[in-house]
């Protein structure tokens, strides 16, 4: 009888950890590190195959706080003529003709209380892949870095960047 009770308790004990793990899994899936996008833009073709530099489309990456998503006019400067019959380009052209901006789903975001500027990091020679991973090999972009404070501080330590709180928490 005692053994039977112990076996039930043990099952509950392991079951609790299974539930905890399931909770972690649900939390991970709700983080949605790779959300669906209105247009399946392949970085593999544009970055790896064509060799376009990041700032060809993300115009303000070396000029301001935000890298910015390119305006439709940038896409259309090429896609007025290239691959115009592809379904995703037809969708793109539709947005352009309607004058409707594309509501891209954000993938990389630091909290509001963090002051982060792309310009400063690009000027310091930090490669985009340091924070964004190998985007050029991703058919669908996903977030591969934690972008938590420890990650930022380790990098600031390595490159001798300022580490006082006010640098990032203005």
């Amino acid at each position: 009888m005692m053994i039977r009770i112990l076996q039930i308790l043990i099952t509950g004990y392991f079951g609790a950890f299974l539930l905890l793990l399931a909770g972690l899994g649900v939390g991970w899936s709700r983080m949605n590190l790779s959300p669906e996008q209105p247009i399946a833009f392949p970085h593999t073709i544009h970055v790896t195959r064509l060799g376009l530099p990041c700032n060809f489309c993300h115009l303000y990456v070396d000029k301001g706080k935000h890298a910015t998503v390119p305006p439709l006019s940038i896409c259309m400067s090429c896609h007025q003529n290239i691959a115009t019959d592809r379904p995703e380009i037809v969708k793109l052209t539709g947005y352009f003709e309607r004058g409707e901006p594309i509501a891209w789903n954000r993938i990389h975001k630091v909290p509001d209380f963090v002051y982060f500027t792309h310009k400063r990091h690009i000027k310091a020679g930090i490669d985009c892949s340091a924070c964004h991973g190998e985007i050029g090999a991703m058919k669908k972009v996903w977030r591969v870095r934690s972008l938590k404070m420890g990650f930022c501080v380790t990098c600031h330590e390595k490159y001798g960047a300022p580490q006082d709180c006010a640098t990032c928490h203005k």
């Binding site: 053994i3 112990l6 076996q7 043990i10 099952t11 004990y13 392991f14 950890f17 299974l18 905890l20 793990l21 399931a22 972690l24 899994g25 991970w28 899936s29 590190l33 790896t48 064509l50 060799g51 376009l52 530099p53 060809f56 940038i74 400067s77 090429c78 007025q80 003529n81 290239i82 340091a130 991973g133 190998e134 050029g136 090999a137 991703m138 977030r143 591969v144 870095r145 934690s146 990650f151 380790t154 990098c155 390595k158």
Partner: protein
């Protein structure tokens, strides 16, 4: 730690890249399971001996010997199941991660030295057992030293393989502390060490069930000791399994990792249930079932690591594969480039134009870029200038967007320059 000489390794060809990643998995599966059993048995044997320095205790002395028997340590298995996989893992990992993907801080040469010397000392410790009644200081030193060295090798394998899935730290690989001292590595060290002790306990239990002619009271006491060790370690495992998955780097997470984690929890759960059942119904088969369930936990834990590593390095492997393909098609260094005929260059240039340039350019029409008939004639007699522009474009006309770097090979640049100049030869 010294590094392997780089000249020994070449970038793996795309065909073998996939294969060697699975050889890497197979070798780590074998190493972790067998070396874990050796480590668990040795730790328990040496620590038991410490409690009986005179070697007089009629319970502790055989218990220590049985723990060493449970470690399954002998010359041939340690060579085939631990050291050979370790060499395989070391060579593949060095070639793939250190020279091809530039992870830095290569611990494999040190691991191998520690594992070989640890194994030798442990073999001497085990061999000395039947002939010496008292454990003696020398034997304890052999056992302690061997266990320490082997433990260190096992620990370094855990942290080194862990570093391969922590891609966000690779950029800090010049600082080994940052690369290796992570919460995930701490959790994995705990997980594998507990598993090692559980495996040794379960193996001892299996041995005790099979022993005949042993004093029944002593046999029961040993069985209970083995059950106690196995039960205690298995009950602690869930904390470390959840901690391992919770601390995995973002890049290493996917649905399969969580599923494998769940399976990793089920095996020790089943082992504990069978173990408790054995207190009520002491059947000789229980020992084998418990041991199989515990030893199977190793491959599942290693598979979890493998899935995380595959997920975290997926993009890097794609880039490596492309790099490898490019290198394969490139002529060997020092080889003379054959002088091509003009018509061959023209045909090759036309091919490059069709595949790359025609996306933005026409000869007589403005597209994304200017019409060639307008801009190429400026380069007549200045083929090197045209090649330099194609190689490294600069924005010349504010009316057009900047031309991107195309990443063409040198022979492609030459061919397309010849093609463009030839095609615009008659333009006024």
């Amino acid at each position: 730690m010294t590094d392997f000489p780089e000249s020994l390794f070449h970038l793996p060809s795309p065909a073998y890249l996939h294969l060697i990643r699975y050889i890497l998995l197979g070798a780590t599966l074998t190493f972790f399971a067998y070396a874990g059993l050796v480590l668990g048995g040795s730790v328990l044997s040496v620590s038991t001996s410490l409690g009986d320095r005179n070697g007089k205790d009629s319970f502790v002395r055989p218990l220590s010997r049985h723990f060493m028997e449970a470690s399954s340590l002998s010359l041939l298995p340690i060579l085939i199941l631990a050291l050979l996989p370790l060499i395989t893992v070391g060579l593949i990992a060095t070639s793939l991660f250190h020279f091809s993907l530039n992870v830095g801080s290569n611990l494999w040469p040190g691991v191998l030295i520690l594992a070989v010397s640890g194994s030798l000392l442990l073999l001497l410790y085990k061999a000395g057992d039947p002939s010496i009644h008292s454990p003696g200081t020398v034997r304890l030193l052999l056992g302690g030293g061997g266990t320490g060295l082997f433990f260190l090798a096992y620990l370094l394998v855990i942290v080194q393989t862990g570093s391969y899935m922590n891609t966000e730290l690779w950029q800090f690989s010049d600082r080994p502390v940052t690369l290796f001292l992570t919460w995930n590595n701490c959790a994995r060290i705990g997980l594998y060490l507990l598993l090692s002790l559980a495996a040794a306990g379960a193996r001892l239990l299996q041995i005790m069930y099979g022993k005949n002619g042993i004093n029944a009271r002593q046999g029961n006491a040993m069985k209970n000791t083995a059950k106690g060790i196995t039960l205690a370690t298995l009950l602690l495992l869930p904390f470390l399994i959840v901690a391992d998955i919770y601390t995995l780097p973002t890049a290493a997470l996917n649905g399969m990792v969580y599923l494998t984690g769940a399976f990793l929890l089920l095996l020790p759960w089943a082992a504990v249930i069978v173990l408790l059942e054995s207190f009520r119904n002491d059947r000789s088969g229980s020992g084998t079932v418990i041991f199989i369930l515990v030893i199977l936990t190793f491959p599942v834990a290693v598979t979890l690591d493998h899935l995380g590593r595959e997920q975290a390095t997926a993009e890097k492997m794609i880039l490596l594969q492309e790099k490898s393909e490019t290198e394969k098609t490139a002529p060997p260094p020092g080889a003379e480039t054959p002088v091509k005929k003009k018509q061959d260059l023209f045909a090759e240039g036309e091919n490059v134009f069709d595949k790359v340039c025609s996306a933005c350019h026409r000869f007589d029409q403005k597209l994304v870029g200017p019409p060639y008939n307008l801009v190429v004639p400026r380069y007549r007699g200045k083929v090197d200038e045209l090649k330099a522009f194609i190689r490294n474009p600069v924005k010349l006309d504010p009316a057009y967007p900047a031309m991107p770097k195309l990443g063409l090979k040198e022979e492609e640049i030459e061919a397309v320059a010849v093609f463009l100049l030839e095609k615009t030869r008659d333009v006024q």
